[in-house]
Amino acid sequence: MPLTAVTFHTLLCLIDGPMHGYAIARQIEERSGQRIRMGPGTLYGSLHRLRELDYIEECDPPDGGESERRRYYRLTDYGRQVLEAEAQRLAEDVRLLRSKKVIR
C-alpha cells in the first residue's frame, strides 16, 4: 500500500538520524518545493500517528544538541523496513515508466 506523501517524506528525513519536529517540517517543506507545508497541529498529529504505527519513536537529542528541550524522533527498524518497501515499490514504478518510455 503506498504511503502518503507526508509519511514518506517524514520517514525519508529520519533516515539520516534523529531530528526534532520543526526540522522535519522545514526539510519536508524544502524537498517538496514548498508544496507540503505543515503547521504545528498537523505536524505533531502526523508524528503522533507514525509513532502509534511504530514507524518512528522518540529518542534523546543527539550529543551536543540544543539546550532547548524538545522531542526528537528516529526511525524504528520497522519504519526502516516500511520505507525500504515503499522505495522498492517506487523503483518498480519507475522501471515500468521507463520501459513504457514515459520517462527516460
Binding site: A25, P40, G41, L43, R70
Partner: protein
Amino acid sequence: MSAGDLSERLYGALIRLYPPAFRRRYAADMLGHFRQRRDELRGRPLPLRVLSLAAEIGLDLIVSLPREYLAASLTALAHFGRDLRLAMRLLRQRPSFSLTVIVTLALAIGANAAVFSLVNGVLIAPLPYREPDRLAWLYLRNSSTFRLTLSVADWNGLREQHESFASIAALRIAELAATGAERPEHVRAARVTAGFFETFGVQAARGRTFLEGEDEVGAPPVAVLGHAFAERYFGAGIDPIGRPVTLDGVPHTVVGVLAPGVERVVYGAEAWVPLPMPTPSRRGPFGLQVFARLADGRTLEHAAAELETVSRGLFTQWASSFQDEEARLTPYPLREIVLGDTGRRLALVFGAVALVLLVAIANVANLMLARASSRRRELVVRAALGASPERLASAVLAEGLVLSAAGGLGGLAIAAVAVRGFRATGLSVPRLAEVGVDLRAVAFVAAIVVASTLLLAAAQLLFGFGRTAASMGVARTATASPSTRRFQGSLIALEFALTVPLLVAAGLLLNSFARLQAVDPGFDPGGVVAATISLPEQRYPELGNLVSFWEQLEQDVLEVPGVIAVGAVAGLPPDTFGATNNFDLIDKPVPSGASQPQAPWSAADPGFLAALGVPLIEGRWFTDADADGPPVLVVTQDWAERYYPDESALGKQLVSGGCYACEPNTIVGVIGDLKYDGLTSHGEVVFEPATGRWLRSLSLVVRTAGRPETVIAPLRERLRAIDPELPVQVATMEERLSAAVAEPRQWTILLGVFAALTALMSALGVSGVLAYHVRRQVREIGVRKALGAGDAELVRFVVGRGMFLVGAGSAAGLALSLYVARWIEPFLFQVSATDPLTLAAVSGLLALVALGACYLPGRRAAKVDPVEALLTD
C-alpha cells in the same frame, strides 16, 4: 508586553482547543515550533508577518483540529471497549456483588418501565380517533356544577344550531340480549346516531358504518359489531356482513364489523345499533351522551359561547318542565372525560416508582463505593503508572454501564411480566388493553440506564478515591477515606428521606382503604345473590307480559331450597346507578330559575326490602296495592334528614321530573341509607314502586339461609324454564361489594409494594454499609475490645452510627411527606393527608426495621476476636 509575548500567549490559548491528551503531550513542542516559525518570518514587514503567520496557523487549526478529535474519540472508544470487557470479567469474578446490584437495579427499572408503559399507553398515546383533540363531550352543567347527560330535547336544540361543530353524535348505553347464537349473552351495546362513527373518524374494517337516515324511527334495523363479538356470535372465519344478529329479540342486519384493535369507541361497547329520537314532550329525561367534533378553526371557547345561546333557547322552550335557568350545555375535552382521575393517579404512582429508582441507585452506588475502596489499590496503582484521569473515568463508566445495562435488560423483562399482570388482574385503568412494553418504553429504559451509569460513575469518581488518588501511602491502609465515608452516610440518609414519603403515602392509602371497607353499605350482604335481567321488547311487548314474567320468576325462585326472600330492584347498590331524577317539594318550592334538587332514583317491588336486608326506619314499605294505587315514594334516611331535618318526611309530597300535570307523589316510608354511587357517596335515594317501564330491566335480589353460591345454578335453571333465551348476570352481593372497592384496593397494593420494596432496599443499604465498615475496621474494633470494651458497647457503637443516619434521613423524609401530602389528599377517604397516627406508625415501623438492619452488623462487631483482629493485616 512585546508583540512576541502576545502572539505566543495567543497561540498558547489556541492550543487549548486540542483534545487534552494530545495537548498535554505536544503543547511545549507546538509552542516551540510556533516560536521558531515566527522568528523565521522576522525579516518581513510587520503587517505581512502577522498576516502570513495568522494564515498559516489558521489553516493548521482547520486541518488538524477535526483530525485530532476524531482520532481521540476513536482511541477513547477503543479504550472503553477494553474497559467494558475488563468490567465484565471483574463482575463475573464477584458474582454475589454483581447479582445483588443487577437485581436491585432490575427491580427498580422494571417497576419504572411498567408504570411508564401504563402512563404511555393511557395518558401519552393519543386516543385512537382521528384528530382526538378536536373531539368534545357535551354535558348539561347546572348551577350547582352538577354534570348531567343530555336529553332528546337538548339534542334537537343542538342539531338545529351548531356552527362550532363539524358534526355531533349521540349515544345511549344499552345492555342488549344477543340470542340466536349457541349461548344467549348480554352484550354491552350502544345506540348511536347515524353520524357517530364519522364524528370519531372510525371506519369499519369490513362493510360500512351507519348511513344517513338509518337512525330514523321506523328504519329497518341494522347493526355494526365489534370484531370479538362478531367472532363469538357467528364463529371465526364467517363473514357476518348481511347476516342477521338477534338483539333484544329483533333481528338486525349486520352492515359492518370494526377492526380488532378498535374494540371500543368511547364506551366499551361490542355492538352498535341506530338510536332513533322520539319527539320529546318535556325537557327530560336525560341520559344521552353527546359528542362533537370541532369545526375547522373553532375552539372549545367558541363552542361554549355558541352553546350558551342554545342553552338559553332551550330554557325558554321547555321552561315548564325544567326550572334551572342557569343550566348550560358545556363542552369538555373528550380526553379529560375518558381519562378522568386516572391521570392524577398515574402521576402519583409514577412519582412513587421514581423514588424507588433513586433509592435503588443510591444503594448500588453505596455498594460500589464499598467495593471501590477495595479496588482502590488497583486503580491508584493504575493512576500512579500514568493512567490519565480520562482512562480512570472510562474504567469506572464501563463498570457502571455493564451493571446498569444488565439491570435495564432485567427491568424490561420484569416490566413485560408486570404489564401482563396488570392486564390479567384487570387494573382499573381506562385503555388498559392498549398498554404494552413498546419501543418508547425501551427508549425510556435506555435513558434510565444512561442516567444510572452517569450517577454511579460520578459517585465513584467524586467520592470513591478521596483526595488521595495519587498517593500510595494512604491506599495501603485500605480503609475508606473520610470523604467517602461521609458520602456513604449521606446516601443512606437520602435513602431514608425518600423512603419515608413513600411509606407514608402507602400507609395513608391503606388507612383510607380500611375505612372504605368499614363503610356500612346499608344492607346485609351475607347470603344474598343478585341477578340482573332485561326483557326485550320484541318478545315482551305488553306491560302484562312483564308483570307476569316477574311474578312467575319470583314465585319459582322462592321454591328453591334455601331461599328465604326474593325481591326486585332497578339498579343495585353500592355502585350501579338506576337513574337520577329532579323533583320539587310541594311545601318547599325552589325560587324560579334556581336549580331543582336531584337524587338517585330507583324502583323496587314489595319483596326487595326484606330480600336485601335494609332496615325500615319509619312508616311503611311498598305493598302490592301500591302498583295501582295513588303514587307513593319511600326515601332513605339521608334524604329525609337533608330535606326535612326538623320534622318527619312521612306524608310530604313532591313532583317528580318536572311533571306538574301528574299527580304528586306522597312519601309513605323512610328506610336505611343505601349507596348508589359508590361506597363513598351519600345515602340519598328515592324509591318508587317498580311498575311500568321499570319492569323492563330489574335485578332479582335473592336472600338465602346458607351459602349464596348454592342457589345460583337452580336460579339459572328456573329462569331457563321460563325463557331459555334470556341472558342473565349473576353475582353475590359480597362479590359486588368487593368489586366496588377493587380500584382503591389495586392502587393501595401497587403503592404498598413499591413502598415495601423501597423500605427493604434502604434497610439492606444501611445494613450493608455498616457491615462493610465493621469488616474494614476489624483492627480498630479489636483494639477497643482489647482495651476492655464490652459487647453491648460495641453493638451500641455500630447501631448508634447507623441509627443516626436513619434518624436524620427519616426526619427529612417526614418533612418531605408533609410537602407531598397534597398530591395524596384527593385519593383519601376519611383520612387527612397529614394524619399524625399514620405518620407515627410509619416512622415507628421504619425505625424498627432499620434497628434490626443495624443490629446484625453490630453483632458481628461484638463477635470480633481481638487477638485475630490484631494479627490480620
